[in-house]
Subunit: 310 residues, 4 copies
């Protein structure tokens, strides 16, 4: 395949304070499918995904991101990534199949320089409820999506120190494309980088931040601007606090809404954005244009944008 | 990069009967940017593309497709494709840089078993008018697109004999993903296959047909269903004959309009469709469901669909 | 009020062959709210309407329209319409409150020259489930609409003889605006007229036809082109035969889908169209442009359009 | 006609500081058609309107609204409004045909209790460039709208004292419908009222404010949420400061963007909203829900909303 090695950001596990509220939020409001529960965790997927689950919540004392997992095309690449990660000098551990994520095969957990953990894996069981494969309807089983109708897990924005080294890892070891960058205030180097494994305008973004392992937001995919509007309606009718949007990013050109889950994690629903190819030049933003880059319509960085993280 | 080797169907040259009418159609109605002219040819690109040109028309006695070109990530892959093509047993020729396509480097022209020619290339100059790269607006130069506002060249559906062998070439040599297939009436083998190099639901489709080298349609990309509607309005107001749509395909789930250029070539504007990944199963259509697969809303294959080709 | 006298086409009763299939169709697929049942009838309303019910089905041996009812602003106008109807020479009968339509007050049933019956009324109970009136959400009770999510009853197209006299009645007695007309093939007079009581581009349309009392279609309202697309998806996924569309009318400029209920009645979902005001000139269509007027995109009158009626 | 008397808010004249900047803004960015100039004024209309002009700018030392004009169906109503206005006790003056607004017949200028002036008129010449009337395309002359593509003048929100008396005038003399109200903080009376003459959710709104004759915003109509998004893109690309939105109002349910013209007048582009009929109950908002009423998604009244007026 022309698309091989790292395929996509395909799963995240986040910490929540309360399971019931969170299930209501992710299942009934965002419209993810609840796949199952185990211990202090609940597993979900978007209606248009094939993997066993693509989102997990874990009950904990404080919110945040446990890890972001990337799917890899085959074990040849997984082995190569393991060797290259070690050569790069990052800690890497093997997680046994089905040990903490039902349906998942072996995962490699990498400790990134920015304090985040990412997992790499090839094998995962196919979900019971998937898009149709034989004379399929355009929606699984011909049913309308629930609530906001999130299609799939999409990406996350990771805050932490040593972002240059983290980006170097994503670029050199995982061979991701560098889609856009935001330059530092003094013009030396980038303070934020958007990276992808495919046509998606980003699978992950990395921002330089003092505290390690902080997540700014993780995002689920919607189809278009019209679905963004419907999602904003439904969030509001369900008393979800909308932090920003509906609006558009200058960076990626995506349509977006930011809001908070009941535990205070910032969540995004994201649609659109251009189709990236590796023969495209990286787009560059000056620091004084960050308002336009993130909040394309108001052109002002909202006060809490760089400070409220989990 | 995770996306390497064959990147995309990135250029096509088609035959037209009259240059002026065709320029009006492709530039003023579809909204492609006219890049330049040379001899009996005119070159165009979509407003959101970086390559020198992605569509060429050539004055000729009858309509049809001269060739479909695929961009390759680097010369290592191009050399490998050349060797594998020869090993596969297909004729392959080298076209010198700038010989017939201004701005293009070396191309390899492969004669497919279905009577079509495809070109493979790595190098092409960047267009003068591209999307912004430095604090960019969401549209190039902040200008609204012209007419139907076609974003980019998207794909083509090729008719011809020996489609199984042609698909085998796309799969084994060019390493494309097999996204969907339509089975033969007797259930033995496929009569149509949709193939991709990336997340696009198709870069090329191949249908078994008696006459070699026939093209059913080539397609340009639009953003979403709303743009499909606007495009239908604009086509109609410009007296373009709409053959089918606005509608949706069951296959790829894309939104679509089919219509004819002034020379009788069938053109499609296409939007949406799911994001394909190579870990997805191939979707399979039975022959008696072809109506639903192509004409999702009417569920009937329109009479001229399989017979009017150029 | 500036809007007084005849307010709108606000209710229709149609004949169906089977109650269960029809309830599934109108409630589960089109998304009307089932309000109640009485005898051989079932009553429905759109989720955004206030009247007790706005659509009724009645079990019968053959499909068709029993009557179309128009709401009138007050009894002063109702009395005036009664007197003017008698002066115009049309049969008019009084239907006692709650006799056949639960929740409805007195109605006047007028026999039109084209063989149709229309009812005029002022009083109807407010439905139990209405849009919110106190700090309301944008959707009733904050719930997403069901299925195609039809908002409200919209209009009907009535076929029958003596259409000129029928239009004269709508214009002179009910004081409706003449929004658009389709001229007869010989240019003498109109064979179809679109009439309204308000900003709606039509509450009723009247076409000259040999057989009296035939209905071409009745229509429910959707919000916009995107909802038309979603409706087409949902109809298809529920095996409803789509007769035409999604498309646009040149006449009224509305977005539209035509399809059939399980009894063979043609139903339309309709969105958009311009806002009519009585100071606007009537728009005129030549007969040879009827294709463009009705099927704006294909510009060809579909074969069954003038022949399949109930 | 069922729609008679006051038809709509159909024209406004506003004060601007600079003609050239304002013409660029209203013509090239918002997409109004420039109809002509006279003295210190420039006249515009939306592409889908029939009246000679529906918006005028006048060069002045400070921004603001000179007057809002309402079209009346016929001279019988105009005479009746004149008599009733005098009986109501408001100053009313006659403005001679063509004296200050080219193409306009006689107008009656009423001084409202809130310090605003409104004009009432029947006669106005038809514009040279109107929607088609004979086999029309869906857009005038088959041309795409310019810039944001504003369709028509829509409404204005007037600030000033004595709003209860002003509303009483709109209700009792001009017979407008009371669509929604915002109650005062102490629950006694309304501090804002939304009024209409037709199905539009508002032609004018009136808010209690200390200073007389202040305008909060005036609005132009767009087709739907997708056009609101395109408008936000185009405003941003033209460096227009977006004050709020794209978003939705709880009140009227309309989709909206607020922004400022080069003179500091707040302008709105507005789409959607339900179709009002006079048999609908008035919707009531408690003062502590005003955030949800105006800023449906953020549910917080933006700081400058009640203070920045012209």
């Amino acid at each position: 395949m022309a698309l091989k090695g790292l395929l996509r950001a395909s799963m995240a596990q986040v910490r929540v304070l309360n399971i019931d509220d969170s299930v209501h939020f992710y299942r009934d409001v965002l419209g993810l499918v609840e796949v199952g529960r185990a211990g202090d965790k609940v597993f979900f997927k978007g209606y248009d995904e094939f993997d066993h689950h693509t989102f997990a919540i874990r009950k904990a004392d404080k919110p945040g991101l446990d890890f972001l997992a990337f799917k890899v095309s085959d074990n040849g690449y997984l082995d190569a990534f393991e060797a290259k990660t070690k050569a790069f000098g990052l800690p890497i551990e093997t997680i046994a199949p089905n040990s903490d994520q039902p349906g998942y095969g072996k995962r490699l957990a990498v400790s990134l320089p920015n304090g985040h953990r990412i997992d790499l894996f090839v094998d995962v069981e196919q979900a019971k409820q998937t898009p149709g494969l034989h004379n399929p309807e355009v929606l699984p089983n011909g049913k309308l999506p629930v609530g906001c109708g999130c299609i799939a897990f999409d990406h996350a924005l990771l805050f932490g120190p040593n972002s240059a080294q983290t980006v170097k890892y994503f670029r050199e070891v995982l061979e991701m494309g560098l889609v856009e960058v935001l330059k530092a205030p003094d013009g030396n180097g980038d303070i934020c980088s958007w990276l992808t494994g495919s046509n998606r305008p980003h699978d992950v973004a990395v921002l330089e931040f003092e505290q390690p392992g902080k997540v700014h937001h993780f995002a689920f995919k919607l189809e278009d601007w019209n679905h963004i509007g419907r999602c904003a309606d439904f969030l509001t009718m369900n008393d979800v606090v909308i932090d920003a949007g509906p609006m558009r990013h200058g960076i990626t050109r995506g349509y977006t809404i930011y809001f908070f889950d009941p535990s205070g994690n910032r969540v995004e629903t994201f649609a659109g954005g251009y189709a990236y190819y590796p023969d495209m030049p990286t787009r560059v933003w000056d620091f004084d244009q960050v308002g336009k880059g993130i909040f394309y319509y108001s052109r002002r960085l909202q006060d809490n944008y760089l400070t409220v993280v989990t």
